[in-house]
Symmetry: C2
Subunit: 87 residues, 2 copies
């Protein structure tokens, strides 16, 4: 038995990481997801809370692809099919 | 009376533009909106067709802000409140 250090995001207390950088990436992803959920729910008020959260998490997890698509490569979105299949 | 040139996107036959560059911007916006609608509906199947379209259009209209947010400035999303109010 030994004491060890684990890391977690204050936004998601259940998920523990051995690696601080990974915990930090998870926290950043959740931060973006929360902000996205918020603006999308304001823009489309008919969204349920769960739909809003699913959209935020999905987009935040794939932020690199969405960054490309919004910048100048809409076709980057076609990469998403593959990612999902791999998950 | 005279004949004049007007421009439109083949994705939206009702909206006519006097300026070709504006018609082109409108077409590009609609192209991105359609692709977004498609990937979001696949990711969150419970979305209605209308919700999917509203999300796509909203995000495509604000593509510069979303590009910043996904790249590395999540806080850019706070600009959206202002934009909507101005519309």
């Amino acid at each position: 038995m030994a004491v060890e250090v684990v890391y977690r995001s204050s936004r998601d207390l259940e998920r523990l990481f051995m690696d601080k950088a990974e915990a930090d990436r998870h926290d950043k992803m959740l931060e973006l997801a929360e902000l996205l959920t918020d603006v999308l729910q304001k823009a489309v008020p008919s969204l349920s809370e769960q739909q809003g959260e699913e959209l935020g998490i999905f987009m935040a997890k794939n932020r690199d692809i969405f960054a490309k698509a919004f910048k100048n490569q809409p076709d980057a979105l076609s990469e998403l099919g593959k990612d999902e299949a791999a998950e």
